[in-house]
């Protein structure tokens, strides 16, 4: 297996967020005064303290699952099945795998190389994007609270299958059309 690519400490999206955070902080301080500024800051630090143990657990889970479940194994599971069962296995595999793009996309790429059903690959990526438990518990729950998180996941449950079917239909239509 190639060496694991690391999460970088600081990239441009963090830079944008940092600038926005500082600008908004200064704006609050100037417009609403020190008391309001400190009240918000204390609230945010509390939220951060609440998130830290979850984020740490999430990172360790991600690293351990990545080591325990090599991408070759996942590729074999999904690549071996077609039809609706293939969709279900792709769905379950994406639910189990940690929410890290460094793991997901190489698996999806490998699936295409071994000739897996494109529908199942779409189900796999879509499920990972919408329903990964790790990202939901670690990030979404602290920001949004349980009600929003649970309902967002419930309404998202059918979506990977819809995307998978659409992808499969598109491929079939192209095949029949005899295009390039």
């Amino acid at each position: 297996m190639p060496p694991r690519r690391r999460i970088s400490t600081f990239d441009w999206s963090t830079g944008v967020i940092a600038v926005a955070a500082l600008a908004a902080g200064v704006a609050v301080y100037l417009r609403e005064g020190q008391d309001r500024f400190l009240a918000i800051l204390v609230g945010d630090v509390g939220l951060m303290a609440y998130m830290m143990p979850k984020v740490l657990a999430g990172c360790v889970i991600g690293a351990l699952v990545t080591l325990l479940l090599p991408r070759e194994v996942v590729t074999r599971w999904i690549g071996a099945e077609s039809g609706f069962l293939g969709f279900v296995i792709a769905f379950l595999a994406a639910v189990i795998l940690p929410g890290n793009p460094l793991t997901i996309f190489p698996v999806a790429g490998a699936l295409l190389v071994v000739g897996a059903d494109i529908g199942a690959v779409v189900v796999f990526i879509t499920t990972w994007a919408l329903i990964g438990y790790q990202r939901a518990l670690v990030w979404e729950l602290p920001f949004f609270g349980p009600d929003f998180m649970i309902w967002r996941i419930i309404v998202s449950l059918p979506l990977p299958f819809i995307a998978g079917l659409l992808a499969r239909m598109a491929i079939r239509a192209r095949g029949k059309g005899g295009g390039p």
Binding site: I17, G25, I40, Y50, A63, L137, L166, A170
Partner: protein, 165 residues
């Protein structure tokens, strides 16, 4: 209460995985723990700026603008705007959730925020460019993105029909 239960659940999971790794080899377990802690340390800057930024941004966000563009009564146009903003928001877990939570606090409707989070999860342009295109066939990436187009609207529609959250 829920927070504690989630912490307990996550850490039980950590313990089970660490035990499973230790059964294979001690080295594997330590490697996993070390990788996880290093990832955590690298995420801290994003976490700090994301959380603090969300709090301050929610305070300075013009509420009336958010409500009229993305509020519960903003209809299909609001959903479309939320979807487009979600698609162009950069990846990384802090950014999208921080913006979504800010919008919700400032008066955006729940289905609109669901459309935003769904679009961001599916498209996050920077993630597509950095992680997806380099390792996947280009055609497959476009196909996945095309097949995902209706999903933010469907998610919002189901949420509206259910009347939740």
């Amino acid at each position: 209460m829920i927070s504690l239960a989630v912490d307990l659940l996550l850490w039980t999971f950590v313990a089970a995985l660490a035990a499973a790794a230790a059964v294979r080899s001690r080295t594997l377990m330590w490697e996993g723990l070390r990788d996880g802690v290093l990832d955590f340390l690298r995420l801290i800057p994003r976490l700090v700026f994301g959380v603090i930024g969300a709090g301050f941004l929610a305070e300075v966000m013009p509420q009336d603008v958010i409500v009229s563009w993305l509020g519960p009564d903003s209809g299909i146009l609001g959903l479309t705007i939320a979807t487009i903003i979600g698609a162009v928001t950069p990846g990384g877990p802090v950014v999208g959730f921080a913006i979504g939570a800010t919008a919700l606090k400032s008066g955006a409707g729940a289905p609109q925020v669901i459309a935003f989070v769904t679009a961001w999860s599916l498209y996050a342009l920077q993630r597509v460019l950095m992680w997806e295109l380099p390792v996947m066939e280009q055609n497959a990436v476009w196909l996945r993105m095309a097949a995902s187009l209706p999903l933010p609207f469907l998610a919002a529609a189901i949420a509206m029909l259910a009347g939740k959250p």
